[in-house]
Chain length 184, copies 2
């Protein structure tokens, strides 16, 4: 039941955005009783929060290329592919929107990024241990710095980031880290 | 009439977010006829798009400090103050959310950032002319790189950026620009 509801919630968010999410509509499309859906998820944002928890559970392990720049490139490429995917990209926008309206979704979104950032942070920690980046570099801030311009571009210009955008995001985060911007 | 409706639209977005924006409610609070509001702004997102146009018109001139890092710091500080302001910060989140659901708002948001970025881009162009940053540096990408981590932090962690966050955003954009990441 949970899987069917989450799939339909993802479909509706992808097709129509958060403003059109309706619990009764989700129940109908998932062929699940409306009362059951309401009892389990309560307010409309419930399935969105649960969808984020599901995405965090299923998130992929990081890549390891042997260098900080290589790893950050791999991370940027993954973020770009996610945003460029019609379903994942629309879902990203809808989830950001839902998080601005609903505290439970906002917490689920924060948790989702914490999981993703924690997965990739070791690539920076290992680079610091190898002497490739300055001691005291905050690994999580570097990983977030890779995603930020790519997410920002999609949200504020509507243009899906391309491969050069991802390359630039990785190189910018690496250059700033190498310059000691993210220490202390 | 326009001023009253825009003020109320801003109030509702600030207090309750985009999901609760209702044209009839705006008309009532602005003490304007519902038909008039509907005729002028049509779908619910209309006042949001118009609010963004109004914000673009009223946006402040850039600061000029004499150095690229100083100017980018001034820009980061302005972005931070905007996001930290209870009304402006809530409005930012609501407008991002509205833009994900509505094409007209998305275009107004893009236009708003184009105006803001164009206002600040000369600080990078002048630094290139002075030889402070590499030739061919894309000024608009640098300016957007300052805002991106600050906006991203508020949207994905719910934590309002503080002064050290703004300082880090300015220094990161400057270091990446100095390293030639934003050329060609």
């Amino acid at each position: 039941m949970r899987a069917a509801v989450l799939r339909v919630a993802g479909d509706v968010l992808t097709e129509q955005g958060f403003a059109h999410l309706d619990l009764a509509d989700i129940a109908r499309r998932a062929e699940v009783g409306k009362t059951t859906v309401h009892r389990r998820w309560g307010p409309v944002a419930g399935p969105v929060a649960d969808l984020l928890a599901d995405m965090a559970e299923q998130s992929l392990p990081r890549e390891e290329t042997g260098s900080a720049l290589g790893d950050l490139r791999a991370n940027a490429a993954l973020v770009r592919r996610t945003l460029a995917d019609p379903r994942q990209g629309a879902l990203f926008c809808a989830v950001i929107a839902a998080a601005t309206c609903d505290e439970r979704t906002a917490q689920a979104l924060q948790r989702f990024y914490e999981v993703r950032v924690a997965e990739w942070a070791p690539c920076v920690e290992e680079a610091v241990a190898r002497g490739e980046l300055p001691k005291g570099t905050d690994a999580e801030t570097v990983v977030r710095a890779v995603s930020a311009p790519l997410h920002h571009q999609l949200l504020t210009t509507g243009v899906v980031p391309d491969a050069p955008d991802a390359e630039r995001a990785a190189r910018a985060a690496h250059a700033a880290a190498a310059a000691g911007v993210y220490t202390g």
